[in-house]
Symmetry: C2
Subunit: 198 residues, 2 copies
């Protein structure tokens, strides 16, 4: 016999559709919701809809924003460096570290023929025209370290041939606090290749 009410089943289904949430976790979350006050659940539902309707990509850099243009594009207009990331949430660690004070640009993905993502799916023309129009002096590539990221970097490099902009990418090596014993081969290879004088 089906002992779960239909609306509870529907809610379990919603949670189970979230990334990394399996059927068991979804059920646990749905039962948790039932233990919450109606006003708390109402607020959760409103926050879902609010985020979904108010947040949109910034027309200049494609980072998520609620405003006409995003905070960084507005407050750092005139900055001469632009940091290219794959997705909006990749901006957070930069701002948390406080090391970077320039502009950002969200590419919307990396070139991945296997997943059907070609250069035409990324905001490449907009990146190039922004670099030219705003006289950007340094482009910092921060695309992670997959083969997809590497081919995307190559494509950007090709598109910018003849444009007087310095191109850099983030250093690759051993992350802070990691135990050398557990460092993977590729990271070790890159850390060794990129070794610097003391």
């Amino acid at each position: 016999m089906n002992v779960e009410p239909q609306s509870l089943e529907a809610l379990i289904g919603e949670f189970a559709s979230l990334p990394g949430v399996g059927q068991k976790t979804a059920r646990r979350l749905a039962y948790h919701i039932l233990s919450q006050s109606k006003s708390d659940v109402q607020r959760f539902a409103e926050n879902l809809i609010n985020a979904s309707t108010k947040v949109h990509p910034c027309p200049c850099c494609h980072a998520f924003t609620e405003d006409e243009i995003c905070n960084t594009c507005r407050d750092r207009s005139g900055a001469k460096s632009i940091c290219v990331v794959e997705k909006s949430s990749d901006i957070i660690p930069f701002e948390r570290s406080g090391i970077y004070k320039g502009l950002y640009f969200v590419l919307g993905g990396t070139i991945s023929p296997l997943d059907g993502i070609g250069p035409e799916h990324l905001h490449l023309p907009q990146l190039v025209s922004r670099i030219k129009e705003e006289g950007i002096e340094e482009l910092v590539l921060a695309l992670g370290s997959s083969t997809e990221a590497d081919s995307t970097a190559l494509m950007i490099d090709r598109l910018l041939q003849g444009v007087p902009v310095k191109r850099t990418r983030l250093a690759r090596g051993i992350p802070m606090g990691s135990d050398l014993e557990f460092v993977d081969e590729v990271t070790m290879l890159r850390a060794f290749e990129g070794r610097v004088s003391l």
Copy 2:
């Protein structure tokens, strides 16, 4: 600079308030929501509110239901056995196994003085009167195997003194598919004590 829109932050907060969901997972889920269509998010929000407003405890057994009384209380009225569980979701494995065709009763917790849960917080009087009124012949205790569960079982046993109802509890032992090497001491103790002839 805070690069996350306020409504996105609010949504991250909602996800982070769910049990077992940390800040990082909450952020991942919130960004996932932004990638969904507005109609999908609208449906999620509606399912949240639906579950929260429609689902309530069955007045007879305290299992969650959308109807006036729950499916099992309605369809198995007249059954002579009642299975006592701690919370509504504990009913699911019984129904999944199909081994049990009787009634259920959700106690609403187990006696736990440290958490301030005394016998008065559980639906004990209602359980006793239901057993008496409906002429229940067997009470199956399925309260897990903590000390709290044991003292709750003891309390139920005391409350039912003089009532002609057979009292049983689920067998304790080695679960299916488990590697003996990794069985904990208490489970092994109980499995050995409860050994049966071949």
